[in-house]
Every structure is written in C-alpha cells, then in structure tokens.
Symmetry: C2
Subunit: 509 residues, 2 copies
C-alpha cells in the first residue's frame, strides 16, 4: 500500500465535512471501493496510520473498527488488518455508482453512521424510535442528582425508584400486579433468565422448553445441568398436553407465552390455564419470558401467566417467575432487565444476585425510573407500536408479492419478527452438511441480507447451534428495526436469492 | 405517624440547602433520630408522602431508598416501609449529638451523600480516587462521537478501540503481551470468570480452586456441574504440589496468583512455574483471575501466569486464560471487565459471548478507551496506589495497637483488603450453629462495621455460603475505600467488639 499512500493521506485537501474520524473512514472506504487498496491487501498499523496522518491513534483505531464492523476489513490474529477478499457488491460508496444517492447496504441512520445491523436481523428494537434527547437529559440529571452514588453498586435488589416505577408500569401496561420488593433489576434479559432458571429448578431436573424456541434458553438450561425437553409450539403457543405426554415430571417450563420466540404467536388462554394447572398438580415452576418487549398487534393478549397465577395463588401458591427487559423496547445496547419472583424465592434470588454480581448501572436505572415516571416510556411504546405495525404490513405485503410460492409466513400477532416456512415440494440447493435454510442464510448474507434459519430454533440433537436438516426449514425475519423502503429493497434481493436456490413447480414468483 | 405529621412536612420553612430529595431525606432522618417516628413504626406510602408534601413521587421514593440503604428503614413485602427496630447507635444526625461535627457512621463523601459502604467491607475500590470530571467528560465525548451507534450493541468481541488500548495497557502495566483480537470485553468480572470457566472445562471435570478462596469462583464452578477441589493457599499462594496430591487429573485451576483472594498474598515464581508445568503435563487449563485490580505494595510481583505461559507456549501451547476488570480499579459500579483467551479458544469464546448476550455498554467502553489512551488510567493507578498504601499502613498500625492478642494479620502484599486470624487459645462467644467469626460479623454489624468471616472463604462442605466452624476463623478487612480517620474509628469499635466476644489469657489488649 506504501506506493499508493498519497490518495489516502490527504485529509485536509477536500471540502468534505464531518469529524476527522468520519473523514478518515470515508477516505479509506473510498480507497477500498475504488481498488486503490486491493482485496486481501494488508493495511498499515493504526500506529503508522495515525502518525503518517497526524491524527490521534484513537481516531485511526475508531475508523478501522467501523470499517471492520461494516465488512470492508478483517483482522487476523497476530498478522494485522486486511481488506476482505470478497467485498459485498453494493458496498461501493455513493459516488462510485451512478443512480443511487446513498449506500444501499446497511440501514443509514440519522448521524450519518451506517448501522451494522442488516435487514432482517430478528430481535432488534428500532433505535430510531427512541427520543434520544429525552433519554440523555434523564441520564444527565441522574449523574447530577446521584452525585458520588453514581459510582457505587446498586442496592441488593436494584435501584428502588426503578422497582417502584416498574411495578406501576407492569400493572398499567400488562395488568401484572406485584410489589416493588418482588422485582430484581438485572443487567440484561440473558442474566435475568439465567438467574430465573437457576432459582426455579436444579441440576438433573427436566425442563420444558419451546420447540421451536430460543437457543439462549436451551443453552442456559443445559449449562446448569438440567435436561431440556422441547415441547412443540404452534399458532396457540406451547402445547401443555404434548408437554405432559413427553415429560409429565418436569420441574419447570420456560415459555414465551406473550410473544413466542421465534413464531410470534400468542399462547391461548386455555393453554395458559392448562400450563398452570399442570404446574400446580406436579409442583413445578413456570418462567414467563416476556423479554421480547410485549409488542402485540391486532388483538389484545390474554392476561400474563403471572397474573393468572396470582389470581389462583391462594389455592396453589405462586409458581410463576416473570422476566422482562428493555433491550428490545428502548434500544439494543441498554442492559437493564428485571425478574419478578414469587415471595418464597425472594431471599435466595437476592443472595444469588449478590454472589454472581448481577448489578445493573445505577445511573441508567435512575434515568429509566424517571423515563417511566414522566410518561416517556408509555409514549415511546405507543409510537414504536405504530411504526412497527407499518413495517410489519410492509413485510407481509412484500411476502405476498415477492415470495409467494417459496415462503409461507406464519401469522404472528406479536413481536419484532416473523417466521416463514420454506414451501414443501420445492427442491432447495444446499451444500453437503448444510440445511437448506442455513444455505439460504449464507447466500443472502452475500447480498447484505441477514436472515436467520428457522431450523436453528429447533432443539439440536447434539447440542450444537446453527441450522440443521431435521428441524422445520424456514427463515426468521426481523422487521422492527428497518424502514419500509429498506424492507422492500431487501425483500426484492431476498426474492432473487430464493429464485437462485429453489427449483420445482411450486415456485411461482 | 399521622398525628405527628407536622414536623416532617414543612420542607420549605427552614434555611436548609440542597435538593428537595436531600431535604426530605434530612427531615425524615431527623424525625427518626429524634424519635418523632419511632422504631418499628410504619411510614406512609411514597405516594401519600409525595402528595402531602407536594413533591414528585420519584423524589419521595429516592429519599426512602437512601434511608433504607443506610439502615434507617426496612421494607417488608406486602406491608410497607418501617423504621428499623434497632437503630445503629451513632446513626443519629449531627445536631442531636454534642461534639461530632458530622455523622460518624458511613463514610461521608464529597457530594454530602453518606456512602452505604461501611468499613471494612472488602473488595471495594475507593470511588473518591477517581477523577470524576475527567470520566464524565470522556462519557460525554463518547455519546457525541458515537451518535446513533451509542444505542447499539457492541461488536462481537467488544469495542475495538478499547481492546487495542487494553492490549497496550496490559503490556505496559503487567508485562502481558497479547493481540487485541484475543481480548473480549465483558460486563463485569463475574461474567468474565463465568465465561472463562465454561470455556476451559466441562461438566464433571475436577477443578482446582483456592482454599481459602473466592466464593464466587467456587459457586460458578459448581453451577456448571464441575467438581471444585479446594487446594490450600498460603503466604506463597496456591500450592500446586498439594493440588497434585489431591487431584492430579483436574482439567482446570482457577487462581488469584497476583493477589490471593482473600489473603492478599502473591504466588511465588516457583509455584507459578510448577502450576504451568502441571497444566502442560496433564493438558489442563489455568484461569488467572486478576480481577482484584493488581494493586501491589512493597515488592513488584512476578510475571503474570499468562506471560510465563506465552514464553513457553512454543513448547506446550497456550494454557492460560486471563481475567481482569475495572470495578475494583476505577469504581464499583463500572461493569467492564475483560478476558484474554488463547487463540484456540477464541472462536468458541466469541460464539458464547453472542449466545449469552454478554455485551458491554458501548459508551462506557469508548470512554474507557479514551481514558486509557490519554493516560488517565495510569495516573489514577499511581494516585490510588499511594492512597491505598497509606490506608493499609493505618490499618496495620491500628491492628498492632488495638487488636494484638485477639487478631493476627496475615501479611498481604497486594489487594484492597487484609485477612486476620482469630488468635488460638482464646474462647470466642458464638450462638449455636454459628462460627465464631460469623458471630463477630453480626456483633460488629450492630456497631456499623462490616467485617467478613474468613471461614466463609473456605469451601463449604454442603455448598452453603457463610461462615462455618471447620474453616480457619478470622476476619477479612477491606481498607482501600475508607479514609484513615474512619479506619481508626472503626478499628477502635472493632476492638470493643473483640473485647466483648473473646475471653482467655492470650487476649492482651
């Protein structure tokens, strides 16, 4: 790269705007897209780049980091940073292509930073729905009002004003009544789920999980030495009758009753009652994993399992642990979740939270309490729901027009994503050892589309992750984080991918 | 409380300064300390308090939360908030006592907020050593420069500029050379240790832990279905010869070589070599838990296990995983830690970080990278080390003068705390079922001193936590977070507690 260093190094000669980092990033991207630096070529070290350009090393590192995150560069342990061998086709900058006014790849965001999240990645809330200024003001006020306390760990169960605000919020938004002292604040949904599973069952216990279901749940259950028993879930959610047939003696069921992961279906009231009846009969616990945000469309969901359970608690005791979080409600980087536990598990939950150091940051907790108390969360949810509804309809419409014959959408009443099955009767290309839906994932990824194989949500026979041939073949498609034009564009590109991968008479697009 | 509501409710009549929350807090504390609200009495709900006083509910909740955290109030599930039955004797406010100008209980901090951390709680870094303004400036700059990216999750291994900064920092401060791509950023030391244990061994494997040792390590190992084998540690750290005698076939050893937890001793170079030789011979892994911050006094510690291992890696491959964190370096509420993994474990580590959603906040990572790059961390460490050295000497001096005969300090060369054994030959009071050191903890707690039983760091026979009679009896005393005057005052009160609990000729103070 030395002989061609000229065009990279003159950051001050152009009329380009933005920070030094942004300009270095733009220049390097331009050099890559126009072939000044060739695929496979090694970049100078950030130290050299920074020195040669008179920038701070941090600036150079940040630019390299962004180019790596966006797929232009890759770093190899011990040998440095290289331009990737296969540049995605439309990663060329705007000026190098004729008609398109902006890069078509990742979703552009307001700050001019292309987001590394490609459509249709599931489980991602739309960051662009958040009132960032209101959130930052709440954070600033928290720093000021907390003073030195901002540096300390939170109290044993978490920041009390947040627990008080959450108790009101859960009652108002979900009809779930609980005491603030039953709520533990935890650093993220995964941590809350992990703690809940460890509280509710013991090593060796059999545990109902959902099939298809969340790979995280499955992995957490196995990791604690419990035996997951995948129970089929369909349009009405997990089927307790099938669970009883498979493992009547299970000690725990983990269900996404209010928004099945990944199908987006809602568990019917009958099945909720049946699940709680079973749990009471065999003295099992139920974890209600509500971490998907509680976004529902078209119909109002039935009462939460925890509410139903509380109504009957006098007769049979509280059996339900309720997990919720804000990563899929406010923004993906926010690590605040909560666990509502029955009274009899509270002492142990507090001990384990302390032992495993499951603290959450005080400043964010205090800001979130204010955000809830001042009504920002409620208005955010209203706004986001309308936005998601539009995006959902865009995706369903595109599916009808572009994928009919190849994919069949599962009607999803809730959540941030939908599942679509590969149409039976078609022949799908796949390399040996690769499931058809995983092959589709790889092919789509080359076109900057991020689809998740439905088969990877089925309990793997050997505990491995990733798609496999025995599970239902399909794609899980997140839509919440992507604008309607981006959804349409990506849907078109996915249609081309499907076209190239399927053959047979059922394929009618 | 209704009939006496008057004196509590007039927040605007006095000349008192501070925020509304501070003033409500002061008034309530005054009412409790002067008996206007009696021990055991129930407080009105925060809703009622807020309405009656014309404050926001959040303000009332925050004041109640602080009073609870500081031991004036306790909340009982389902029934409300009560004044505690046994108010600590010197929790009375300044104006109610004659000579002392400030409350003597918890350490006062600059913002006027008494810290809820009592002396001698171990493992707590001194928040007052941090240049809070520099840190907040770095956070603000990160928010601005990251723009929309501040809301997203970090990249697969963590924020690259931080990993680059950490690689330089580890080499400069600990002589540990590694590539930034071997570093994973994780949300806290416990998460890093959990991931490391899961990477390095499998269910059913035997794992050397330290005896005495960190209860968290022990619990994490058990939780993953492994079998902890406690190996005695002494003034030279864990003894590999004893480990080989107990469990030569173990697959993993977890050691705090650079600052033994809780003894504060440093593992000798000979034992480090012996440990690595054993690991190479039986193909085991070693986790070097360096989460205690790396503060050493008097002598420079030997090379890290990971450095020694790398030097010999050509012959036997890399066996060491290195865990470090910033909670005990910068401030307790900061949830950023890191794990340095050998190349062969890197892919699996990245997969598990993604699966278990072990993300760390981007804004804090970016701020920390800047903090390191601009030299703030290095100067913080120099400053903190001098402060801790003074506090350590204060504690050792107090121990000689006040506790001689009852407690014997273990000479600690590193860390934020020291261990002291209860002198043999004395008779120590303890209720049935309680170890002598746990009885001392309870008695000290009533005097606002937080001592940790040494016996609780011994592997419990039944997996329970807390002190037990078979372990070495003693106290673990944190000093780093407490000013010398506070250490002296607390040491005096601990001497009185010891006096009341021990009898026999050896007790000479």
């Amino acid at each position: 790269m030395k002989s061609r260093r000229g065009p990279l190094l003159t950051l001050t000669d152009g009329g380009e705007g933005g920070s030094l980092q942004q300009r270095l990033f733009d220049r390097l991207r331009h050099a890559i897209a126009t072939g000044v630096v060739a695929p496979g070529e090694r970049l100078p070290s950030t130290r050299t780049l920074a020195r040669d350009m008179g920038l701070s090393r941090n600036t150079a590192v940040a630019a390299i980091e962004r180019l790596t995150a966006e797929g232009y560069l890759e770093s190899r342990v011990g040998s440095g940073t290289f331009v990737v061998e296969n540049l995605p086709p439309d990663y060329a900058p705007a000026e190098a292509r004729a008609p398109a006014p902006r890069p078509q790849g990742p979703a552009p965001t307001e700050g001019g930073l292309p987001s590394p999240t490609l459509p249709f990645r599931p489980g991602i809330a739309a960051g662009d729905q958040l009132d960032v200024e209101a959130w930052r003001r709440a954070l600033s006020r928290s720093w000021r009002s907390l003073s030195a306390r901002a540096l300390e760990r939170d109290s044993a169960p978490g920041w009390r004003p947040l627990r008080v605000a959450l108790a009101s919020f859960l009652e108002a938004s979900r009809g779930l009544r609980c005491h603030p002292d039953q709520i533990l604040i935890l650093p993220g949904r995964a941590a809350a789920l992990d703690l809940a599973v460890g509280l509710a069952a013991s090593p060796g216990d059999r545990v109902w999980t959902e099939d298809p279901g969340c790979p995280l749940t499955h992995a957490l259950v196995r990791r604690l030495g419990m035996v997951p028993v995948p129970v089929p879930a369909d349009a009405d959610g997990l089927d307790p009758a099938k669970g009883e047939a498979l493992a009547p003696d299970a000690r725990l069921a983990v269900v996404t009753a209010n928004c099945q992961m990944p199908l987006g279906t809602v568990m019917s009231l009958e099945r909720r009652q049946a699940l709680l009846d079973w749990a009471a009969r065999v003295d099992a616990r139920v974890i209600e994993d509500d971490g998907d945000g509680g976004f529902t469309f078209e119909t109002r969901p039935p009462a939460t399992l925890m509410s139903l359970d509380r109504a009957a608690a006098a007769a049979r005791g509280n059996r339900v642990l309720h997990v919720g979080g804000f990563e899929r409600i406010l923004y993906p980087g926010l690590r605040i979740a909560y666990l509502v536990v029955p009274e009899d598990l509270l002492d142990r939950a507090l001990d384990l939270r302390a032992l495993f150091e499951l603290h959450a940051p005080v400043v964010e907790q205090s800001a979130l309490a204010e955000f809830i108390d001042e009504g920002h969360l409620a208005s955010h949810l209203r706004r986001a729901r309308l936005t998601y509804q539009e995006r959902r309809e865009t995706l369903m419409d595109a599916a009808r027009r572009l994928w009919a014959g190849a994919l069949t959408l599962t009607p999803a009443a809730a959540g941030l994503q939908m599942a679509a099955r590969l149409t039976d009767g078609l022949t799908w290309k796949a390399a040996p050892g690769l499931s058809p839906d995983m092959a589709l994932r790889h092919a789509a990824r080359a076109r900057s589309i991020d689809v998740t194989p439905l088969s990877s949500f089925h309990a793997p026979p050997g505990g491995a992750l990733g798609g496999h041939r025995t599970g239902t073949q399909g794609l899980v498609l997140g839509y919440a984080a992507f604008s309607p034009p981006l959804i349409l564009k990506a849907a078109q590109r996915l249609a081309e991918t499907l076209d190239a991968h399927a053959s047979g008479t059922a394929c009618a697009y």
